[in-house]
């Protein structure tokens, strides 16, 4: 693969190629809860991380490891970061792929004007290309130092869907005895969804909890963590990992299969092990809990 010099003779920081544009779109769409969102992209020798956040209470990260790419040439020092419109990036990737045809796309950063450059490279006589403007990113306001107090592996999505009372908050309770996860929503009436650990291992796959933990989270943020996972991916989904950290920080992890074109469907080789791992994108959501209500003063 050629890495032709940019303006000024510097090699670009990153030149990579991917052939799974649709999978990439699936992974990135799962953190797209609004039409227009600004993301911060950080590139390194390990791969690409894309971070989005909202109002200091919800943050999502998409990890695209270098093994997901057909080729990955990284020559920068340190970890360059830039700001990008997530919506534009996803829409752009969609422009490149047509049903039934997964082109090989080359992505370069930076272009002569610090843009992100994309181009199809599988045909000498036809190509689609794009240049996306980037900006200097704001510093990320919170980088959570996460320590877990309890975690579960569960089909989280349906529970959150069932608890739909927009505007209200959801209480999540993890308790060690009896081991269970309870999600409680209140609005016009209340609804409680309980996952007892021993009852149904399809729903609650793993459970670890030392102490009773209970926090409330805004419904709309919880919804953002599950409602944009594309349906095609949900079917393959191995379940999401839900962890509550110290101070009530909720961490939700999804694994999204980013199938390689011409590769086997993941159903066939779940036991494929290492081969399979390279086709997974990791998605992490962090949700800050609601502040505890201060006790009522009677003055």
């Amino acid at each position: 693969m050629s890495s032709s010099a940019g303006v000024g003779g510097d090699a670009p920081d990153l030149v990579c190629q991917l052939d799974c544009a649709q999978g990439m779109v699936d992974a990135l769409s799962s953190v797209r809860w609004k039409r227009h969102q600004d993301a911060v992209v950080e590139i390194s020798e390990h791969g690409v991380v894309l971070i989005v956040e909202e109002s200091g209470c919800l943050q999502a990260k998409v990890y695209l490891k270098r093994e997901l790419f057909l080729a990955y040439e990284y020559t920068a020092e340190g970890r360059p970061r830039f700001g990008l419109s997530l919506g534009l990036f996803v829409d752009c990737l969609n422009t490149f792929s047509t049903p039934g045809h997964a082109p090989v796309i080359e992505i370069r950063y930076p272009g002569p004007d610090m843009q992100l450059l994309l181009k199809t490279v599988d045909s000498p006589d036809a190509c689609i290309y794009a240049e996306i403007r980037t900006r200097i990113p704001d510093t990320i306001s919170w980088d959570c130092n996460f320590q877990s107090t309890g975690n579960v592996h569960a089909t989280f999505t349906e529970a959150v869907d069932d608890l739909e009372w927009p505007g209200s908050s959801i209480q999540i309770v993890l308790q060690p005895d009896p081991p269970s996860v309870i999600l409680r929503g209140e609005g016009h009436g209340d609804l409680q969804v309980e996952f007892p650990y021993y009852a149904n291992t399809d729903l609650l796959i793993a459970f670890q909890c030392d102490q009773h933990v209970s926090y409330r989270y805004k419904y709309k943020f919880l919804r953002a963590t599950t409602s944009h996972i594309p349906n095609s991916v949900l079917k393959d989904n191995r379940g999401s990992k839900v962890t509550i950290g110290r101070g009530g920080m909720l961490k939700i992890q999804h694994l999204i299969s980013v199938k390689r074109a011409g590769g086997q469907h993941s159903h066939g080789d779940i036991s494929g092990g290492i081969q399979q791992l390279s086709r997974i994108a990791y998605i992490e959501f962090f949700v800050k809990p609601e502040e505890d209500e201060s006790p009522v003063n009677d003055t």
Partner: protein, 321 residues
């Protein structure tokens, strides 16, 4: 003003299939039947008089469509009127169906211009009548049309048609119209202003740009009709925009801006299944011309008795020599 003719078998099928070209691309349109003294042509045109939007012209040699063709008018044998293409198409389809059902070799479809009293009105109005006559029955369908266009309008139409025939100096052939249409549909998500550049090397370059993103597509080494040139050596490694810019500066390419919506509209004609499509930029960047051609069935020879073309208005003068 008189017009009467029988539609040939080929003619009726042709009109039926090819009018699809229009009924998808215009909601209300004008169809102008016109007999040119020298070569007896039928023109169906859209937007040629209004000057707005995509102009489309279908040209048929009358002998392909009609037999026993009679026309007379005070306008040097030219008659032009406006008709709703959807209604015209519907009448054609029913005439075809009736003819097939008659199972009668002598069943023929005749069209003529008539004046009739429409239901509930006291003034006679002009119609294009389709009469399907068999041995035992006849079915008559009236398609309402506008009053035949006055002399001045017909003259204007004539000039517009002649101007439309100003061919671009370089045309490139696009093989896969469905692929182009799919690309155009996706580019519409980005914006509406499309820059089209065509070079004498056989490159077709489309680009949509906003302040935040530029998306483009380049097709290279397409077949060229007209003026052609060899691409400069070493241009393979350059980016598409750079290559195009260089070609334009050397006077070996032209670039114009058109509306992506217009291009999408003109591409809907691929429903009429043309065999070839050529794109070119008219001299001085006056418009983007698309020419569709059909082969004589069973051959790869162009059927010269039919031709379709569209002219897309240019929004902003692009760079050109």
């Amino acid at each position: 003003m008189k017009f009467k003719a029988f539609l040939t078998q080929d003619g009726v099928h042709l009109l039926d299939k090819r009018t699809l070209f229009f009924s998808q691309s215009a909601t209300i349109s004008d169809a102008h039947f016109r007999k040119h003294l020298a070569c007896s042509l039928l023109y169906i045109t859209i937007n040629l008089l209004s000057g707005d939007g995509v102009q489309s012209v279908a040209q048929f040699n009358k002998d392909v469509l009609f037999r026993d063709y009679r026309i007379s008018s005070q306008n040097a044998g030219r008659i032009a009127f406006a008709v709703d293409v959807a209604l015209l198409h519907r009448a054609l389809r029913s005439a075809l169906t009736i003819q097939a059902q008659a199972r009668d070799d002598t069943a023929a479809i005749q069209i003529k211009l008539v004046k009739k009293l429409p239901a509930g009105s006291r003034d006679p109005a002009p119609f294009l009548t389709f009469e399907t006559k068999g041995r035992v029955s006849a079915v008559v369908q009236d398609v309402p049309i506008s009053k035949p266009l006055p002399r001045d309008d017909v003259q204007q139409l004539q000039s517009a048609l002649e101007a439309a025939q100003d061919l671009p100096q370089t045309l490139v052939q696009v093989q896969d119209l469905a692929q182009l249409q799919s690309l155009v549909d996706r580019l519409r998500n980005v914006g509406d202003l499309l820059t089209v550049a065509i070079t004498r090397y056989g490159d077709l370059h489309l680009q949509v740009s906003t302040s935040l993103i530029t998306v483009g597509s380049e097709f290279r080494r397409l077949r060229v009709l007209g003026l052609r040139a060899d691409p400069p050596i070493g241009d393979r490694t350059l980016s598409a925009p750079t290559r195009t810019e260089m070609a334009i500066q050397k006077g070996e390419g032209l670039s114009v801006q058109v509306s992506l919506k217009h291009l999408a509209k003109s591409l809907q004609c691929h429903l009429a299944k043309p065999d070839c499509a050529f794109y070119g930029i008219a001299p001085q960047g006056a418009c983007l011309t698309v020419i569709f051609q059909f082969f004589i069935p069973g051959t790869r020879l162009t059927d010269k008795s039919i031709s379709f073309y569209c002219r897309l208005p240019v929004l902003d003068p692009g760079s050109g020599p």
